[in-house]
Symmetry: C2
């Protein structure tokens, strides 16, 4: 159940020798149509990689025929030479597929600041083209992994059409997207405005609310390719909801595989004056290292949660704030309520609920705890 499950797509993934480990590191996804509608959401980081610059350009006409993705190198902060390499990669894919380079998106992930081994990538593209298959989605998903421990795939079933997807990302997960590459495919027949609007909404509600470590990547890319192979033109709202479900499924897989985490934390902010306020408060809690270390220590430290809420400009009265951890309301009206010993934090899933008593908007932000293993992985691994 992968990006090649919907009709009209072929994919492949193989070891091109970019990774020293010899693991798969190059993937190709091709949309055989009949439609080639595409949409994309790319990192908001102003320092962004050459493939992000390229992909933003080629997405401008709302169509794509292929996406080539490599792990083992981000091609970020590589100057004009890095951009030339991305261009050459797209040209090579275009050559072997008999299409135009402007129809090829490029995604890269890995260490920042180093040029890619282009001879290996160009040779690998020949191999990827030869290996393209309607069963190749699983290989492609495997080839984009970096510190991920599991490949991440999804398929959602609509009324006569399918949405498939794959994702990579296990750290640097933050708004304006996580460090992640995501390719979504559908055999629905949707036009570009419908696809782009649905993807923007889905990202806003899922990937953008995943804030594992507050660090925004240079390479985040989410692409949606629509082949129209099913012949079905879905209701735009239904399509958007199904696409959001696909992105939610992938984002929860990213959360579950975050580097070194021992907890998956859902922070629900209730009764905010606006949805923006709810997101702001949730994100402030998600990014607070003292909250995150307390959770690692199984400590329902609501004082640190309130202190994080207090740093925001959201509408609230500090003497009206309520906080529950795993359903136990340990803070009511800004002061201690239920005994904190009633909170059981031994499990992996944690829910934090904050009631702002300021309106009726709600949002959930997902994060992880801050663990010894996070420090270990990110002090030992250059990315």
């Amino acid at each position: 159940m992968t990006v090649t499950t919907p009709g009209g797509f072929r994919a492949s993934g193989l070891a091109a020798g970019i990774k020293a480990s010899g693991k798969k590191d190059l993937a190709l996804v091709v949309n055989d149509g009949p439609s080639q509608v595409a949409a994309g959401v790319l990192t908001a980081n102003r320092v962004h990689a050459a493939p992000v610059k390229w992909t933003r350009q080629v997405l401008s006409d709302g169509t794509l025929k292929a996406v080539v993705l490599n792990s083992g190198g981000a091609n970020a902060c590589t100057g004009p030479a890095g951009f030339q390499d991305t261009h050459a990669t797209a040209e090579k894919v275009a050559g072997v597929l008999g299409i135009g380079a402007a129809e090829v998106a490029v995604c890269s992930t890995g260490l920042i600041g180093e040029l890619l081994p282009m001879p290996k990538i160009l040779a690998g593209i020949d191999g990827c083209a030869a290996a393209l298959s309607a069963d190749g989605g699983a290989d492609a998903a495997e080839a984009i992994m970096t510190t991920d421990t599991l490949a991440k795939n999804t398929v959602q079933t609509g009324a006569g059409y399918l949405i498939g997807g794959m994702a990579k990302g296990a750290g640097m997960l933050a708004p304006g997207l996580a460090t992640m590459l995501v390719v979504l495919t559908t055999d629905a027949d949707v036009d570009h405005p419908t696809a782009q609007a649905a993807l923007a909404r889905a990202c806003r509600l899922t990937f953008d609310r995943l804030d594992s470590d507050g660090a925004m990547s240079t390479n985040d890319t989410v692409l949606l390719l629509a082949s129209g192979a099913s012949g079905v033109s879905p209701d735009p709202a239904e399509f958007a909801a199904l696409l959001t479900a696909a992105c939610h499924d992938l984002s929860q897989q990213l959360l579950g595989d975050a580097e070194g985490a021992t907890k998956e934390v859902a922070i629900e902010v209730r009764n905010a004056a606006t949805e923006d306020d709810a997101v702001t408060v949730g994100r402030s809690i998600a990014r607070n290292n003292l909250v995150k270390t307390a959770l690692f220590g199984n400590d329902p430290n609501w004082g640190r949660i309130l202190a994080a809420v207090g740093t925001t400009d959201a509408v609230f009265d500090a003497d009206e704030l309520d906080v529950a951890v795993n359903g136990v309301w340990i803070c009511l009206k800004g002061a201690a309520a239920a005994d904190r010993s009633a909170v059981d934090l031994k499990g992996r899933d944690v829910s934090i609920t904050v009631d702002l008593h300021a309106g009726n908007a709600t949002a959930t932000i997902w994060t992880n705890d801050l663990s010894h293993a996070y420090v270990h992985e990110n002090s030992a691994y250059s990315s």
Copy 2:
């Protein structure tokens, strides 16, 4: 060389039984005049402790005769009962000193969300009053320590007058002040506007630029008491510069004692369009957990630094950014330059220099690395 080194001050510190450890936990600083000018800067956190609410009120007339400080409990998020306790504490100090409660500031630090053991505090105030001495500054500085491993004191010498100071704080160090309590004393004869302006400037350039872990406290308080005992009315600019030197000294002691840190990191942002831009960029780097874990791992990971710069709205061109670590320019024009292996990160002091090439403003932000010991201390200690 403490808060009692300048003329006109007495202080004391003792174990009132608030801390289970039996260590000193209650301090009193008294300004015997002839002047009682005071200034203060308090936490910008909208969730702030009862003593912060109280102290903000009593500072409104620009004078203070005494400050009582306790460790072992923050009296934050304690509702109306907590505020009554703060009020009762000030009333008790006023009673034993024969002054008014509105002339007494109160500072608390420790666990959030629990009421203070008032009988111990009230009895302790009797003891503190009895122990007041012109040599009592060192005891006072010891009594405000929480996870601090060292007491923090300073004295700066002006033209005929002195500035003394004490500080506590070892985590939750972030802008809008660190989790810290600071009392500064001077025997200069300064009026309230001069004192307040000098303190605001000093905090902006020192404590506000210390961002150990991005977490803003509920209890931060910086107080300046001026006795006028020297009879010297200094030039306001000279006084402000000396006060900034005192705050810088204390802030560097806080940085050096940050929980679990193995590095003290100075992030200098050069050639920014504005000082605000320089601070914003420095703070974004200081708060980036991937930068901080890389430093813990002795990895001069300039890609993560650039990625942190890229998340800001400061004026810069991503293709013009230069980055040096410990003086080695490993990134020029947004791409790799000197070999990263030339950077020696084995020492405790680290300098990061970022040149934005966007103007001529400069600022330095100080932070620490993110270590296993930070995770350990903050997952095991409720604060």
